[in-house]
């Protein structure tokens, strides 16, 4: 039965809020990315594509590449560590499963910076790991563990892994195990059954996890800032600098557009793979 077109009264507050505070600001970012920067502050009304032309510079190219490499590496690592975790938790009795997921999620109620601080204490040149190795006589001088690309990846993986695990877990838990048993009965090895049955069946969860890790990893400038020192500049740090120190909003907006395109791209892949129509299914 086709219902008549009507809009419930209670939708309006959400509708107005979304137009005012989601659509309008984003459209404004698109607009200023094509404007010229003002002399001291803000923008002028001169239309230009200079902000995009400027990005062709190899200096920015290498920042984009480093950001991409970091995001891909973070996503791959969270999958490699997270999927087996989710898989093994699903094999536990139901009672224990809830406890494990609770233990995994509990730290995420604590400020992420406080947790990052723990890694900084561990990795510092006079930190826990170095002191331990020095005292054991394994190394003669402190290793440089903090303030490099690797440290940023550690911070990102640590901050984002739960999203991947939860996503995979939801998918694996819903899976019909009898299909895997059937494959095994028909002579497939455990590994073969996993690769040809379990993994494809849980792919929607994996891809959702990839989106939930990849997208934020591009913008979390505070992790690269604290763990990477001045050397590791990612696109998020660049945008922040353009907005605050350099006060070049149009260029910052153009950089955001690049990030936006990357986001739209990965969500498109997600929709293709999962066949989902709504973004809400990601949660």
């Amino acid at each position: 039965m086709e219902k008549k077109r009507h809009i419930s009264l209670s939708v309006w507050p959400l509708y107005i809020w979304t137009v005012l505070f989601v659509a309008l600001p984003l459209v404004y970012v698109v607009v200023i990315s094509f404007l010229q920067r003002g002399d001291t502050w803000g923008v002028t009304d001169q239309v230009t594509i200079d902000n995009y032309v400027k990005m062709v510079d190899p200096m920015y190219g290498s920042i984009f590449l480093e950001t991409l490499a970091m995001a891909v590496l973070t996503t791959a690592l969270t999958f490699l560590f997270g999927y087996p975790f989710a898989y093994y938790v699903c094999k536990l009795p139901a009672r224990l499963r809830g406890v494990m997921i609770l233990l995994l999620m509990a730290p995420f109620w604590i400020n992420s910076l406080c947790r990052l601080n723990g890694w900084m204490i561990l990795l510092k040149s006079n930190g826990v790991i170095n002191s331990l190795l020095l005292n054991l006589g394994i190394i003669d001088e402190p290793l440089k563990l903090l303030y490099n690309f690797g440290a940023v990846v550690v911070g990102m993986v640590y901050a984002l892994a739960p999203f991947m695990i939860l996503s995979c877990y939801n998918s694996i838990e819903k899976m019909d195990w009898s299909v895997v048993e059937a494959a095994r009965d028909l002579g497939a090895s455990a590994w073969k059954a996993f690769v040809t049955v379990t993994l494809p069946l849980t792919m929607p969860g994996v891809v959702a996890g990839c989106v939930l890790v990849f997208v934020p990893s591009m913008g979390l400038f505070f992790i690269s800032d604290l763990m990477g020192g001045a050397k590791t500049v990612l696109i998020g740090n660049l945008i922040r600098t353009e907005l605050t120190a350099a006060r070049n909003w149009p260029f910052g907006a153009a950089l955001s557009m690049v990030m936006l395109l990357a986001t739209v791209g990965i969500i498109w892949v997600y929709k293709r793979v999962s066949g989902s129509k709504s973004l809400g299914d990601l949660m």
Binding site: V11, L14, W17, P25, Y28, L92, P107, L113, C114, L260
Partner: protein, 255 residues
């Protein structure tokens, strides 16, 4: 073997926090252990910047969540009853803040509020946080509504309940757990947000995460370790109380 892997991953997850807890009791300001002390807790409570920004963050999370519950729940319930041309578009656009790297929304607000000459304050923070809190409530309530049997509401209506009455007596109690779930998630997200707050907070309305960020950037700050330890205790207390409450509730409803 598989159990071992689970424990190893959990150990790695908790390792940095255990280090923080241990160092919060270290009497030395630096990494070497010099003995037990509570001085960082004392400094934490005397640090007015931390106490003030904690208040700001709690207030911000509270108001943003309340607004998000209102807008998100009303929106999801209304959407389920409506059919209109821009419905799919509205749904996807309203969920964008959950999907976009936060920095883009942060810069959008910075630019727009500056253009409109809105001073950065608690108000701009609440607007920004409400916007990214709404999707969590909306999605949670929406997925609960999908699984809901429409016969309950129809029965209530057939028995003479008004639409409003049916909502308060039937729909609301049924979706309440989903509202709570979404709101808890939204609260956690609001309390933890650095990126958006960084751009829209005014000088007198700094949030705790932004304060911690600038403290960590500027150097050695053992008070942060004490703060983190207290948060850890609070979270596990809350989880314990929640578990206890649920167990008691179950026993009561069984007996």
């Amino acid at each position: 073997m598989s159990q071992l892997y689970i424990w190893v991953v959990l150990a790695v997850m908790y390792l940095p926090m255990l280090v923080v807890v241990a160092y919060s009791f270290n009497s030395s300001r630096y990494s070497n252990w010099e003995g037990f002390s509570l001085q960082w807790y004392e400094e934490l409570f005397n640090n007015s910047a931390i106490v003030d920004t904690l208040n700001n963050s709690l207030m911000l999370a509270f108001f943003s969540c309340a607004l998000a519950i209102l807008l998100g729940t009303m929106g999801a319930v209304g959407m389920a009853k409506s059919r209109f041309r821009t419905q799919g578009l509205l749904e996807n656009v309203s969920l964008i803040p959950m999907m976009l790297p936060e920095i883009i929304l942060g810069m959008a607000y910075l630019a727009l509020f500056s253009l409109c000459r809105v001073p950065f304050s608690m108000i701009t923070l609440i607007i920004a946080h409400t916007t990214f809190c709404i999707p969590y409530v909306f999605v949670s309530v929406q997925s609960r509504l999908v699984g809901l049997d429409p016969a309950y509401v129809e029965a209530a209506r057939d028995l003479g309940a008004s639409q409003t009455r049916a909502f308060y007596d039937i729909t609301l109690p049924l979706i309440a757990p989903a509202v709570l779930n979404g709101a808890l998630l939204a609260f956690a997200m609001s309390m933890d947000d650095v990126v958006i707050s960084f751009f829209v907070a005014g000088t007198n309305s700094q949030t705790l995460p932004v304060q911690v960020y600038s403290m960590l950037k500027s150097g050695v700050t053992p008070e942060i370790n004490a703060l983190c330890t207290l948060m850890l205790v609070a979270v596990f207390l809350a989880i314990g109380l929640f578990g206890l409450g649920r167990a008691l509730f179950k026993r009561a409803s069984r007996g």
